[in-house]
């Protein structure tokens, strides 16, 4: 479904991605783990088209989208839940969700909204509240709900557990598992390597802009190198 080949990206003269290769197949949950500054967020931004690729290729469903505009990629079904939630603070919860469905036909909005509310009941209770007044966990739910409104074919999740209490991390990952069960294709990036690799079918380890390890999620969890570097064992 998604094929990334020797992808590079620069911030000015600094190269953040140094030729990445990876694939995500339909229905898979693929995790990407790595330390701070390894280029995880840059990769997701480049996949979404909000950070330009300087070389290599991104192919989605057989179409080369390496230099396509961000909003067109959302229309294709590549939808991202960005790091740090990035909800529209002054707008209401419901407006945030409706904006998530911006690329969808308007008449689908109500049905889609109900689907998201049934998945995140806490959002329904607060539908009129300004998004900025929600707690961190609720904002993460809202960011995920907003992305689901676009009916993603490939959901990109950037650090969904960042800054959340362990109980909330558990809750977020329960939702991720539910999405996987519903056959949503997910590419998940998290510093919380244990949580990410234990739900993933496959995983990649990113170090300073390069993929250094790849394998099944379980396999990577058991890998000595990964244990030492990312699991603190």
């Amino acid at each position: 479904m998604l094929e990334v080949g020797t992808l590079t990206s620069h911030y000015g003269r600094i190269q953040a991605l140094k030729g990445l290769d990876l694939t995500v197949r339909e229905g898979e949950l693929v995790a990407l783990v790595g330390a701070n500054g390894a280029g995880k967020t840059t990769l997701l931004r480049t996949l979404s088209g909000v950070q330009p690729a300087s070389g290599g290729s991104i192919v989605f469903d057989g179409a080369d989208i390496t230099h396509e505009r961000a909003d067109r990629r959302v229309k294709r079904g590549i939808v991202q839940v960005p790091e740090g939630r990035q909800v529209f603070g002054p707008l209401s919860v419901e407006d945030n969700l409706r904006l998530g469905g911006y690329t969808r036909p308007r008449d689908e909005g109500d049905a889609e909204l109900e689907r998201v509310y049934s998945m995140f009941p806490a959002l329904k209770e607060r539908r009129r509240q300004a998004a900025g007044t929600l707690s961190g966990g609720q904002q993460q739910m809202l960011a995920m709900g907003r992305a689901l409104m676009a009916r993603p074919r490939l959901l990109l999740l950037d650090e969904p557990s960042m800054g959340l209490a362990p109980r909330l991390v558990e809750e977020i990952y329960a939702k991720v598992r539910a999405l996987k069960q519903a056959r949503t294709t997910i590419f998940l990036v998290d510093q919380n390597a244990r949580a990410a690799l234990s739900v993933a079918d496959r995983g990649y380890v990113l170090e300073t802009g390069r993929i250094v390890l790849a394998g099944a999620g379980r396999e990577l969890l058991g890998n000595e190198q990964v244990k030492a570097a990312y699991l603190g064992l």
């Binding site: 979404s48 088209g49 909000v50 505009r69 961000a70 909003d71 959302v74 229309k75 939808v79 991202q80 960005p82 990035q86 909800v87 529209f88 603070g89 002054p90 707008l91 407006d95 409706r98 904006l99 998530g100 911006y102 690329t103 308007r106 907003r146 992305a147 676009a150």
Partner: protein, 291 residues
């Protein structure tokens, strides 16, 4: 005594409504791009001058006005596309200087396309003053107030009820997240410039029968609108309207009770006072950006 006060208030309200429209233009562009568009006054000028020249060439007003508004909106979009867009990523100060350059260019073009004379537009429905509790009001003032009210309501509906309007607000708040929702932020930017230009042009057309219009009418009206936007809090729609009305009334009362020589000074005294004592204005949430 009371009739005189009412007279000043009515005059202030009329000119304040015009400032409010110009200030709304500043607010919309500032929200979309953080740029203070100093060519905003030129949209006012283009609206008035284009209507005058179309009317003089024999077009009836109901036809000349929409054409002039569309022409101004087109100039706004062109300004965004060919002057602001290519400088994307440049500092806000650079972008502001670009708009100052654009305003000089537009004024120059106006003297070439039209001329340097003053022009009058006939009032929309006669110039017989209407008596109102001892004061009088021109029918054109009613047009100004009515159209401004209509526009404010329309904008309220657009930004509060439509998804496109909300996408513009979302882009103002967080352009990255808006892009990830599939909003084409370049389109939003173009729409903002087009909308602001149309608002400015409408202001210029409404006021032309009362104050005359000319190639440089936008300089003062643009600055007054800017003062109104600052007073209300840059970027706030409500602030732009309230700021415009307050500024218009302050000017009118100042001219009436102190001296009409100080009429234009009022706006600048207000800008300075606001910037010194409450830089975020009446309705602004964030502190004003330093430029």
């Amino acid at each position: 005594m009371l009739a005189q006060l009412l007279q000043f208030l009515l005059a202030g309200l009329t000119v304040g409504a015009i400032y409010a429209l110009v200030a709304l233009g500043f607010a919309i562009i500032h929200n979309a791009s953080h740029v203070i568009n100093f060519a905003q006054g030129e949209f006012v000028m283009i609206g008035g001058m284009a209507t005058v020249s179309l009317a003089n060439s024999g077009l009836p007003l109901p036809l000349a006005i929409p054409i002039a508004v569309l022409a101004a909106a087109a100039v706004g979009v062109v300004l965004e596309k060919f002057a602001v867009e290519p400088a994307r990523g440049a500092s806000v100060v650079t972008l502001i200087i670009i708009t100052i350059g654009a305003s000089i260019l537009l004024r120059g073009l106006a003297t070439l396309v039209w001329d340097k004379k003053l022009h009058a537009l006939p009032p929309f429905s006669g110039d017989q003053p209407i008596e109102l509790a001892g004061a009088t009001i021109l029918p054109q003032s009613l047009w100004v107030l009515g159209v401004t009210l209509g526009i404010v309501l329309l904008l309220g509906w657009f930004f509060g009820r439509t998804l496109t309007g909300k996408a513009m607000l979302a882009t103002a708040h967080n352009p990255l997240a808006a892009q990830l929702c599939g909003v084409n932020v370049r389109f939003v930017l173009m729409l903002s410039f087009g909308l602001s230009a149309a608002l400015g042009a409408i202001a210029g057309i409404l006021i032309a029968p009362i104050t005359l219009t000319s190639w440089d009418v936008g300089v003062m009206l643009g600055l007054k609108g800017f003062a109104a936007a600052i007073l209300g809090g840059l970027g706030s729609g409500t602030g732009a309207v309230v700021g415009g009305i307050l500024l218009g009334i302050a000017e009118s009362l100042g001219a009436g009770y102190i001296s009409s020589a100080y009429k234009d000074a009022m706006a600048f005294v207000i800008i300075l006072a606001v910037l010194f004592f409450m830089p975020s204005g009446l309705f602004g949430s964030k502190s004003a950006e330093r430029v």
